[in-house]
Symmetry: C2
Subunit: 187 residues, 2 copies
């Protein structure tokens, strides 16, 4: 069956945006529906699993989008340190633009709903894995995967701190230290 409308996609996009800024429990289905321009019947037609399914798909969508941006940034710069600094710049710009509402779309949902819903937690974990893989592929060394996890953790933490403090300083501090962290293959 070919789809006849774009309602489903519109709803997921709206949900992704709202979950990103407000979190899972703070975002009501009514708000998603109102801003997405869809009635309740449509939602439960497209997402029989309800809010939980919607959140899992929204997380996957937001994660895939950011993964694409991450890969393109990494591909544009031969040096991993420069590339990651570009990514930090991107995240910082996003924070500023949204008045510090848009940090990491995964972290918000992971902490808010991951503990109560296994599908949502799994979707978040999957996204983190994809990001880590993208980073690891650009670190040409034996411990690339483990190091990519550290880089990912550092960036995630910096975004969390920056959002909470309403200040980009943590992002800059991390950017300045990336060279040290990635500098020597054998540590």
């Amino acid at each position: 069956m070919a789809r006849r409308t774009d309602t489903r996609e519109r709803v997921v996009r709206t949900a992704a945006r709202l979950f990103h800024a407000q979190g899972y429990h703070a975002t009501g289905l009514n708000q998603v529906l109102a801003e997405g321009g869809a009635p309740k019947g449509s939602l439960y037609f497209h997402f029989p699993g309800g809010k939980e399914q919607l959140a899992a798909e929204a997380v996957a969508l937001a994660g895939a989008q950011l993964c694409a941006e991450l890969r393109s940034a990494l591909a544009a710069e031969p040096d991993p340190v420069d590339a990651l600094r570009a990514v930090l710049g991107l995240l910082g710009a996003q924070l500023l633009e949204s008045d510090f509402a848009h940090g990491c779309p995964i972290a918000t949902v992971a902490l808010d709903a991951g503990a109560q819903s296994e599908p949502i937690r799994a979707a978040c974990a999957e996204v983190y894995d994809s990001w880590q893989r993208a980073i690891a592929e650009h670190l040409d060394r034996p411990d690339a995967d483990e190091l990519a996890a550290v880089v990912l953790a550092t960036v995630e933490g910096a975004v969390l701190l920056a959002r909470t403090r309403r200040d980009l300083a943590p992002l800059h501090a991390v950017g300045a230290r990336l060279g040290v962290l990635l500098g020597r293959p054998t540590g």
Copy 2:
């Protein structure tokens, strides 16, 4: 007026525990009251600011407790790297014990409620500042403060990843890289 009961403290402790594990919006006042053994009238007597005030105080309490543990761990080890590894071990044990429910008590609330409530955001930011100061004081070098921010971000990110993945690997990876990050004063 001296206090005549410990209801207030009991409620804050219960709230801190529940917010820690479930987040702000996922935790209802009724649950806090039931588990804390207090009626609603008492809550609004002790916390006229309602849930928002309760959360701000719970965050401050949890933050102060962890800050004390952090300082004691740092004081027990002369080498900052060893000391921070001990802290990572503590956080990992806490995650395991709680079946990955208890990550960072601040991050959960900061992402969940910080965007909507300025007092809660400020309370979270204050706690992060206190932790960063505690770390910086044990790094005897000119760039201690900035470096402490990076360390804090890395640890926070690692806890977030570990909780989401239900796997302590990110914590271990960070522990193994702390030496590189802190190794040379001039980077």
